[in-house]
């Protein structure tokens, strides 16, 4: 894989990661709490 293609691929991965983090930070949450990341109580458990 040439360095140029590697750069493009790396930047695509970075853009996807950044987009996911931003979306995650601002998306409204159905359940209260941290979204289950820290084990705190959420409103509803998966059935």
């Amino acid at each position: 894989m040439s360095p140029e293609i590697q750069t493009v691929a790396a930047l695509v991965v970075v853009a996807l990661a950044a987009g996911w983090l931003v979306r995650r930070a601002f998306a409204p949450r159905k359940n209260p709490g941290c979204g289950g990341e820290c084990g705190c109580p959420t409103g509803k458990l998966k059935r």
Binding site: A10, A17, A18, C38, G39, C40
Partner: protein
């Protein structure tokens, strides 16, 4: 008043949809254990009150394979809710929650060792006119305490199915599921004569609540009784304010009784207790001696004013000693595995030198690997916490700490939120819903993030590894530093609680009422499940948020590209991350931190453990060696431009002090905003915590330098 057809017939109609059961009971009577046993879920359980502060919904299956919805509700001593978690229970049972189906049937779980107190809530629930199944839990503990609890007698007295049960080891579950599967569950035949002076008021309020507040007749009766039991009608009404007519009737009766000198609330409560006392006396006999139980004997030492503290100190020392000694080998394996993976990508994967390879090795593997290496410590920490919770020792720790907490003005109920905050401040802050007094609750929310959460653990461990490297110092020193950090956070929280209670949030000194549950053998299955759940949460977080942040950090550390021939250090310095670190450097230089640490401080506002992954990304980006160096060693090799080591013991110690106090967690900020319904308090919290962190770090660093460290 005409009753619904199914009530006058004495049996409940089978619900046409999936039946909904509410699971209710006093705090710490085994609700969540039973909920888990019925639904197969892994809701957190603990041998202390206040573990559940929100409702949980799960699905159980009847003996015929039909689904049954089960709602696990927070523990309550009565329907007269005095705290937000009890209000959840009351509102679900009274059908006030739009987001929760009104339960068709109610599973009342009681602690068989303490039947009389538990029956008060049961008695109130029978007023709701819904089919009730009574679960007599902890029958084994009751038998061991010499109590003979006769389920048949209770069944005859209350007129509802009564199932003896040992939820913790699954005994009685089949009988319970059989009862839950019945289509024709009987309604209680228990008759309670409301005291004569109060009865007309109940009838009038019930009629008004039905006509003017659109309540179903039996719910209206239960609400009428609640309004008359609690002096605070606004609190009883909760989110459904009373109509003007009902309020007028209520105030009219209260005025009349005040004139007559009638204690209407006391009369109602006493009347209930008279009935309950009679039922309990019929159903329970105490066999054998009535001397101190085994729990009492252990408590004589474990809660002793001197021995209690010594035992607590010994337990904490053992915990941290295990973290350092037992975790050493698995940690080494993980570290070697991560280094081998990184080396394989660099040398043997066939991927030539380039951005993608750097992203994988210096971003993803270095960032995530730097955090994952601490998994064994996290597992050990939660194994010990699980053991202490399961045996009931945590409640004793609360009792011991309360002597101190009450002196600084903290409510006794603050202990569980503060204890939960050692795992994560978010469940701790949510657990403050058990605190009735709003000012006490706010004080607890404000200081809870000072307790050292598990996200700080990787930061502490990394800094201790750099502070006291290798085998040069005994493990006792590492344990001592770790205990010091936890103690600083804990006593810092107490100090700020003292300050807030005397300035911003003045209030009456709190009264501690805490029930000490009996000691039990640890439920190893629950402890193991809890530990594995924490491990999964940790790994999932590492594989999602930390991975995402590490990838973005790699970009910020790698771009914009420096001119050809620049050293890795020069590249990092002129990158986006480097520029941000340099911008922060003037503010943190007095603390002994350089711009590279500054990058970690900025990124770890997302979550504290991101500091470790940031250091992994930053120092891997700086090193262009073909062999991957473990982060601990990379930190030790880092130097200032003039050749002095960057991570001196004093800087490592100062950094730990900073992380003890700084509010480096965006999720906590969000949850404080939600729980206080205002931006004022989270912003205040960021300001006071970060300000304290800076000031104390400054004092420690400058004093350390002055002393020649």
């Amino acid at each position: 008043m005409a009753l619904p057809a199914h009530i006058s017939s004495g049996v409940s109609a089978a619900p046409s949809r999936t039946p909904v059961y509410a699971l209710v009971g006093n705090p710490n009577c085994g609700k969540s254990t039973l909920f888990n046993a019925l639904t197969g879920l892994k809701q957190k359980v603990g041998n202390y009150p206040g573990v559940t502060v929100e409702k949980k919904i799960g699905t159980a299956y009847s003996q015929h394979g039909q689904p049954i919805t089960v709602i696990d509700l927070p523990g309550a001593y009565s329907l007269a809710a005095r705290s937000p978690d009890e209000a959840v229970t009351r509102d679900v049972l009274l059908g006030r929650r739009a987001d929760t189906p009104q339960p068709d049937r109610i599973l009342c779980i009681v602690d068989a060792t303490n039947l009389e107190r538990n029956l008060y809530l049961v008695h109130q629930i029978l007023d709701l006119g819904r089919p009730v199944i009574l679960v007599l839990n902890m029958m084994d503990v009751a038998a061991a305490a010499g109590l003979d609890v006769r389920a048949g007698r209770l069944e005859r007295e209350l007129g509802i199915p009564v199932i003896p049960c040992e939820a913790v080891n699954g005994k009685g579950l089949i009988e319970l599921k059989l009862a839950m599967s019945r289509a024709d569950l009987p309604l209680s035949r228990h008759a309670w004569d409301i005291p004569a002076p109060i009865a007309p008021a109940v009838a009038e309020l019930q009629a008004s609540l039905t006509a003017n507040d659109r309540k179903p007749p039996l719910i209206a009766r239960a609400e009428a009784l609640l309004l008359l039991t609690d002096q605070d009608s606004v609190r009883v009404a909760g989110s459904t304010p009373l109509s003007a007519r009902t309020t007028e009737i209520l105030q009219g009766w209260q005025k009349r009784w005040e004139g007559e000198g009638t204690d209407w609330a006391g009369t109602l409560v006493n009347s209930r207790y008279d009935v309950i006392g009679r039922i309990a006396a019929e159903a329970v006999t105490r066999a054998g001696h009535t001397g101190p139980t085994a729990s009492d004997k252990i408590d004589a030492v474990a809660t002793h004013p001197i021995w209690g503290w010594m035992i607590l100190g010994a337990v904490m020392t053992l915990l941290f000693l295990s973290i350092f000694t037992l975790a050493e080998y698995p940690m080494g394996f993980i570290e070697d595995g991560i280094a081998s993976l990184s080396d394989w990508v660099k040398k043997d994967s066939g991927l030539p030198d380039g951005d993608l390879r750097d992203l994988i090795t210096d971003g993803a593997i270095a960032g995530v690997g730097g955090v994952i290496v601490f998994l064994p410590q996290i597992l050990i920490l939660f194994f010990f916490i699980g053991l202490l919770e399961s045996t009931g020792y945590m409640a004793r720790a609360a009792f011991i700490m309360d002597r101190l907490m009450s002196r600084v003005g903290l409510n006794g109920k603050s202990f569980i939120p503060l204890l939960s905050s050692y795992a994560c401040a978010i469940p701790g802050i949510m657990a403050t819903r058990t605190i009735e007094d709003q000012k006490d609750r706010l004080v607890t929310i404000l200081v809870a993030p000072l307790m050292s959460c598990s996200a700080r653990l990787p930061v502490y461990l990394l800094m201790i590894a750099a502070l006291v490297p290798g085998d040069r110092v005994p493990v006792a020193t590492k344990v001592g530093v770790m205990i010091l950090m936890y103690a600083l956070g804990t006593f810092g929280a107490f100090g700020f609680a003292w300050l807030f209670k005397r300035t911003l949030l003045k209030g009456a000194p709190p009264v501690m009422i805490m029930e000490l549950p009996p000691y039990r053998l640890p439920g190893l299955k629950d402890v193991a499940l809890h530990m594995l759940e924490r491990a999964w949460i940790f790994l999932r977080r590492a594989g999602t948020v930390i991975l995402g942040i590490s990838i973005v950090l790699w970009f910020l550390a790698a771009y914009p590209k420096a001119p050809e021939g620049a050293t890795p250090q020069q590249q990092l310095a002129q990158s986006f991350a480097g520029r941000a670190g340099h911008a922060l450097e003037p503010a943190i230089a007095p603390l002994g931190f350089d711009w590279q640490i500054g990058i970690g401080l900025i990124s770890s506002f997302a979550a504290r453990e991101v500091f470790v992954s940031t250091m992994g990304v930053v120092f891997n980006a700086e090193s262009k060696d073909d062999d991957t160096t473990p982060l601990r060693q990379a930190l030790l090799a880092t130097k200032w431009p003039d050749g002095r080591p960057l991570f001196t013991p004093l800087v490592c110690f100062t950094l730990m002090i900073f992380y003890v106090f700084a509010m480096q967690c965006v999720s906590t900020v969000a949850i404080v905003r939600r729980e206080t319904n205002s931006w004022r308090w989270p912003l205040f919290q960021i300001a006071y915590q970060t300000g304290t962190a800076w000031i104390l770090s400054f004092i420690v660093y400058q004093a350390g330098r002055a002393l020649g460290f």
